[in-house]
């Protein structure tokens, strides 16, 4: 069938629109990356001279170093705890029927609809009430609550995609429920568990609003340290730090993709 000029124009316009949208999506990252290499000590755009020095400064800055280390501690603990708790709740929700199941489900996903600052403020008040000094425990507890819905969802979807006949086959071969869990269910759930952990880790590491409330000078995470920095200074080291953030996250995703396949990591592909 011959293509009319009108159809060709429409096709071209469609492609152009897609390119525009995609460009719009990555525009912030591009602007920040360019700004990071600006030699001048102000966040201006476009830069006149180029330099790496803001990267050096960002890496050398003590608050950022502490924030990075604190962030790693909080992220590792909170996403791991959330994984264990979330996986157990996911099992309960998927495998059993009980009273108040809907209520439990609603409570578990409620952090999705409650603003982060509410959660943070809540933990702050609670910690003050029970005389909990603002150490890592309260930050980690807060992050567990915030990332739990994502872990829960990830494990739940993997469980739903897991064909029940694997477990039944193992049981028919004489494996006790615990043995089935350890040798069949958990190994087959690994992609879902890893993806849940990765999601939780990324969210926790980048979390700012609630962290602002619950962290102290000693426990502040990287986003909080960046916020405190930007209140006083406006040089491109912030942009440099952002670029490092982007590169690190991308590297993590590439790594996960190579190991598990992105489809499985993002849970959009049935794990088999």
């Amino acid at each position: 069938m011959p293509c009319s000029a009108y159809q060709r124009l429409l096709g071209f316009a469609g492609k152009f629109a897609v390119v525009l949208i995609l460009g719009f999506l990555i525009l912030p990252a591009v602007v920040v990356t360019i700004a990071a290499f600006n030699d001048k000590a102000i966040l201006s755009f476009p830069p006149q001279a180029w330099s790496w020095r803001w990267f050096a400064k960002a890496i050398a800055y003590q608050d950022f170093r502490d924030g990075f280390r604190n962030g790693l501690v909080v992220t590792a603990w909170s996403s791991s705890l959330a994984l264990v708790i979330g996986a157990m709740f996911a099992f309960a929700l998927h495998r059993y029927t009980f009273r108040f199941k809907k209520v439990l489900e609603a409570i578990l996903v409620s952090p999705l609809v409650i603003p982060h600052f509410t959660v943070g403020l809540g933990f702050l008040i609670l910690a003050a009430q029970i005389g909990w000094n603002r150490g890592f425990a309260v930050v980690i507890a807060c992050h567990v609550v915030l990332v739990l819905p994502f872990v829960l969802r990830s494990v739940y979807v993997s469980l739903r995609n897991l064909d029940q006949s694997y477990e039944r086959a193992a049981a028919s071969l004489g494996a006790s429920p615990l043995r089935v869990l350890l040798t069949i269910t958990l190994p087959l759930l690994v992609p879902g568990l890893v993806s849940g952990w990765l999601f939780a880790a990324m969210l926790s590491f980048n979390e700012f609003t609630a962290s602002l409330f619950v962290t102290s000078q000693r426990t502040q995470t990287l986003p909080v340290a960046m916020y405190n920095y930007v209140r006083e200074f406006a040089d491109p080291s912030m942009a440099a730090l952002s670029v490092m953030y982007i590169v690190a996250t991308a590297a993590l995703i590439v790594f996960a993709n190579a190991f598990l396949g992105l489809g499985k990591v993002l849970n959009i592909e049935q794990s088999r």
Binding site: R168, A169, A170, A171, S172, L173, G174, V180, T183
Partner: protein, 377 residues
């Protein structure tokens, strides 16, 4: 002393009970899912070494019955015994069953050898013995040399053999097969069926086989239980099921059949005399025993028991040829025949001469092979 005698008597009772106990026995088993009764008071005894098929349309309860035997479900009423022991509250992993699933359910994170060895490992069998038995059973299903492959690297037929090997290696008391051939193409299916039956006979393992394919049921089974709506409609050998179906459902579900309108003339002992058109046929009187004379009767006749002849007044009926369907080994002929049948009649004849002799549109007479057919009200 009294007690010893008591035990002796009890032991005797138990031995006496064994012959009719069966390898697997369902007694008055009922299973409900919310408001739906999936199984309604089903009783069945499967003999040691027997190949029993549960046949029926989807939703008839056959899979539920298999899952009850496996222990994936527990009955709401009645009793399930395997090798004489009550199984109602015994969990699956203590039942010593081997099961093959519709999608094979091979563990994707284990090799072929790992899959087959799983049941032995669980039983704490040492590695040398384990390896020997894995080799043995892989040889039985003709998969020697495939030990290190993963399930995804195997064809459908090979996957099925691994599944069979995995179920058999533990020497199960009973082998449960859940529509294992439904994922295979037609040619492979036929050869796998023969292979399965040979292995089953060789090992003499009691087998329960679930299928909705009546051809499969007739060709493989020692006995077939035809089920519908949670009940066993008929339990018998494939020949009994095909030649003497007990009701309309069994007659029309198993194999092709024609329904001819007739009239009951009378009962002569075990035979009923039924008039179809101008002729009279004699068929077993079973289902029409208590019917009043001259009542309308439907005569169910298999397509291979109808014969096309010249249209003469002495034929059972006559009609016009609507279509011939050439099937290679035989020809299926559809005949439009308004006076004695609700639908088109199907006549199955060997050889392709019929197609030349009775072209489409020509008029033929139909007669019934003597003694064939079953009557229902």
């Amino acid at each position: 002393m009294n007690k010893a005698a008591d035990i002796g008597a009890k032991a005797q009772q138990e031995t006496a009970a064994v012959p009719d106990e069966g390898a697997v026995r369902f007694s008055n088993v009922t299973k409900r899912f919310d408001a739906v009764t999936a199984l309604d008071n089903v009783s069945m005894s499967i003999k040691p070494g027997e190949f029993m098929t549960l046949l029926g349309p989807s939703g008839c309860g056959k899979t539920t019955l298999l899952n009850l035997a496996a222990g994936f479900l527990s009955p709401d009423g009645g009793e399930i015994r395997i090798a004489g022991e009550r199984m109602n509250d015994v969990p699956t992993y203590k039942r010593e069953i081997g099961m093959m699933f519709q999608n094979y359910a091979l563990f994707p994170h284990m090799s072929v050898a790992g899959n087959v060895a799983y049941g032995l490992k669980v039983r704490g069998i040492a590695k040398p013995e384990r390896d020997r038995r894995v080799q043995e059973v892989l040889a039985l299903v003709r998969l020697t040399g495939f030990e290190d492959r993963t399930p995804r690297q195997l064809s459908g037929g090979q996957q099925q053999r691994v599944a069979l090997a995995r179920a058999l290696v533990i020497n199960p008391t009973v082998l449960l097969l859940d529509e294992p051939f439904s994922a295979l193409d037609k040619n492979l299916r036929a050869s796998m069926q023969v292979e399965l039956r040979e292995i089953q006979r060789k090992l003499n393992v009691t087998t329960i086989f679930v299928t909705h394919d009546q051809g499969e049921a007739l060709s493989l089974s020692d006995r077939v239980a035809v089920m519908s709506e949670g009940k066993v409609r008929q339990l018998g050998t494939p020949q009994e099921i095909y030649r003497q179906p007990c009701d309309r459902f069994v007659a029309s579900f198993v194999g092709d059949t024609n329904v001819l309108r007739g009239r009951l003339e009378g009962i002569e002992g075990a035979l009923a005399v039924i008039s179809v058109g101008v002729i009279k046929v004699k068929v077993p009187s079973g289902a029409v025993m208590d019917v009043a004379a001259s009542a309308p009767i439907d005569l169910f006749v298999r397509p291979e028991h109808l014969v096309m002849t010249e249209a003469t007044p002495s034929c059972a009926t006559s009609g016009t040829i609507a279509a011939h369907v050439y099937q290679g080994g035989h020809v299926d002929t559809y005949i439009e025949c308004k006076d004695s049948s609700r639908d088109r009649l199907l006549v199955r004849s060997a050889g392709h001469e019929t197609m030349a002799r009775w072209p489409t549109g020509s008029t033929v007479g139909i007669s019934i092979v003597a003694g064939e057919g079953v009557a229902f009200v």
